[in-house]
């Protein structure tokens, strides 16, 4: 019966404290502490337990691009509040607040540069910007990244981390699913490879559009990946979810991922795959 035993960590969708401050860092999975330097050297993966702390575009770009160098596009596209949305807070205030807090203008960035000497376009979401939610800016920037990859025949990598569509843009954010998928349909015809890397968490409208549409769908270990969130599913079916449900390993087992790679090996593995696809080993 342990199969359906309640595991509280299973129903949490938000580990608020990613990349904590301080010299000693507690690993949520084990409760042990580890030195910050050791984590940084290992790309924020606990060397002992393999626990992957969530990192953002700054960190991914710094180790995926050679010498951390890249050109950024899409920064001239910034969010507005088209619906004048207000819940307990105004969306416009929320945007200001997150821009202030994160130093980012929205929840995705597009970098163009070299990865082990290969020209690539890397798009990376930032979960710490309104839960990595997809609104008009995310859709437009991803569209720009896809267009750039297509026109310049550079392989595209999109790193997802998102709670889904951005409610504060209502139907406009829903339409970003259609928009990004339509752009990927165009990319498909050009024969340029697209690799979707899913990290913890990738859910909702992001999973149900570009994240699941890679030529290759890959993930970091133990990432939560799904359409509906675990809490909603638990409410719907009225029972607890099996251990490991909606985690990377579960998706791999059910045929929705090509492989799972620990973060420190991602760059090497992506390079190898892309070099095969581009016939680089034949040169």
């Amino acid at each position: 019966m342990t199969w359906f035993k309640r595991k509280d960590k299973n129903i949490q969708t938000d580990q608020r404290k990613e990349m904590p401050e301080g010299v000693w860092v507690k690993v949520p999975k084990t409760g042990e502490t580890v030195h910050r330097r050791e984590l940084e050297d290992n790309l924020w993966v606990d060397p002992l337990s393999g626990y992957h702390f969530r990192i953002g575009s700054d960190e991914y770009f710094s180790f995926l691009f050679d010498k951390g160098e890249f050109e950024e596009i899409g920064q001239d596209i910034v969010p507005t509040d088209p619906l004048e949305f207000e819940d307990r807070k105004k969306y416009s205030d929320r945007l200001d607040e997150y821009q202030e807090k994160t130093g980012k203008t929205d929840a995705v960035r597009v970098g163009i540069g070299k990865m082990n000497d290969l020209d690539v376009v890397i798009t990376c979401m930032d979960f710490n910007f309104i839960g990595g939610s997809m609104g008009s800016v995310v859709g437009e920037r991803i569209g720009m990244a896809i267009d750039h990859a297509r026109k310049n025949e550079k392989p595209l990598i999109i790193i997802s981390q998102s709670g889904g569509a951005r409610m504060m843009e209502s139907v406009l954010s829903l339409m970003q699913m259609a928009k990004t998928s339509a752009k990927l349909a165009q990319l498909e015809e050009s024969g340029v490879p697209y690799i979707s890397l899913m990290t913890n968490p990738t859910t909702g409208g992001v999973t149900a559009s570009f994240a699941m549409l890679g030529d290759f769908n890959i993930a970091e270990p133990e990432a939560l990946i799904g359409f509906a969130g675990p809490r909603v599913i638990r409410q719907t079916i009225g029972r607890d979810l099996p251990e490991g449900f909606q985690r990377s390993e579960y998706l791999l087992d059910h045929g929705f991922l090509d492989f799972i790679t620990p973060r420190p090996q991602i760059k090497g593995k992506l390079t190898k795959l892309i070099k095969i696809l581009l016939h680089k080993y034949e040169e």
Binding site: E86, L174, M175, A178, H254
Partner: protein
């Protein structure tokens, strides 16, 4: 006929009219004028209530249990309907129905989310919430439409894709994503009509039309007002406010250029005159078919991709901020 809370004044008056009618004999000099007066009053009241609906009231109308559903429209507006079943991988989803038919003699593929009318059929139809098999059946149908050069009509009426364990296990997100990408490049016209609820990925998963219409009393949004309330207000109690801020009505979406037009419903909602509602839907479909069938397949694909690529609201600033 079931009345919604805001229709209570109408219900009260209609009840009174019914009582008086039962008392009165033919040509009753006292009661007849009174009944006439009340009937006029009901008409006025209905007119005033239904021309000033709040967004939440539209949501309520979209969910009215007597509202026509997909199969009602299919039977009313098509001839020769042949339903097809199954995704060829796992099973036949009951929350999405579809098949081949003719409309005024023109071959079409027609499909939509299907809800049930009583407790048993509601469960059978999973309340109009599709599993991956439903989206994969829709995928099959659309590709068959393309193969035989037959336009596709999709009717949206879902509270969302089904958030169940098996749905996740069998790739709900993958099924929807794949449909979006496929619809983008489908070589035949796609015409989409929101006939009830258009909730989130579950709706757009079969809804990437070249032209998209909403019936007057329907809603289309990234999330239901209830779920929005529970996430942003941390309680279910703000659904009316959530509906207001989500700007989810046909009028709202037309204002945002997300849809191509609004299909008028009979006063009081589609359920007050299902034949009239179906006629309006049919007229719109015929008009769209006439326009879209003139376009080449290249043009259809190109204009569909452009349509969705242009959606979104943002600012463009100079890079040196």
């Amino acid at each position: 006929m079931q009345y919604l809370d805001f229709e209570q004044p109408i219900a009260d008056l209609e009840k009174k009219i019914k009582e008086l009618s039962e008392l009165s004999v033919a040509d009753d000099e006292v009661l007849s004028p009174e009944i006439k007066r009340l009937e006029k009053r009901v008409d006025e009241l209905r007119e005033s209530i239904f021309t000033n609906l709040t967004r939440w009231q539209r949501v309520q109308l979209a969910r009215h249990p007597e509202r026509p559903y997909t199969l009602d429209y299919i039977y009313k507006i098509t001839e020769n309907f042949v339903e097809i079943h199954g995704d060829r991988y796992h099973s036949d989803d009951k929350a999405i129905v579809g098949g081949f038919a003719t409309i005024d003699g023109q071959s079409v593929v027609i499909m939509g989310h299907q809800k049930g009318r009583d407790t048993e059929s509601r469960q059978y139809r999973r309340f109009g919430m599709a599993n991956p098999e439903g989206y994969r059946k829709a995928h099959r149908l659309m590709k068959l439409g393309e193969k035989f050069d037959i336009p596709v009509i999709t009717l949206l009426d879902t509270p969302g894709a089904y958030p169940g364990l098996e749905a996740e296990e069998r790739g709900q997100a993958e099924a929807i994503a794949k449909n979006l990408k496929m619809m983008a490049t489908l070589k035949v016209p796609i015409i989409t009509v929101v006939i009830g609820e258009g909730a989130s990925g579950g709706a757009i998963g079969i809804g990437m039309g070249n032209e998209v219409y909403m019936m007057e009393n329907t809603w289309y949004s990234v999330i239901s007002p209830e779920s929005c309330s529970s996430i942003l207000w941390k309680t279910w109690d703000y659904k009316e406010q959530a509906a207001a801020v989500l700007k989810l009505t046909a009028e709202d979406l037309e204002g945002m250029d997300i849809i191509d037009g609004i299909i008028k419903e009979p006063l009081g909602g589609a359920h007050r005159g299902p034949d009239q509602a179906a006629k309006a839907v049919k007229e719109q479909i015929l008009e769209s078919l006439k326009r879209l069938k003139k376009k080449s397949s290249e043009k259809l694909v190109e204009s569909r991709i452009d349509k969705y690529a242009n959606m979104g609201e943002f600012k463009k600033v100079s890079n040196n901020k």
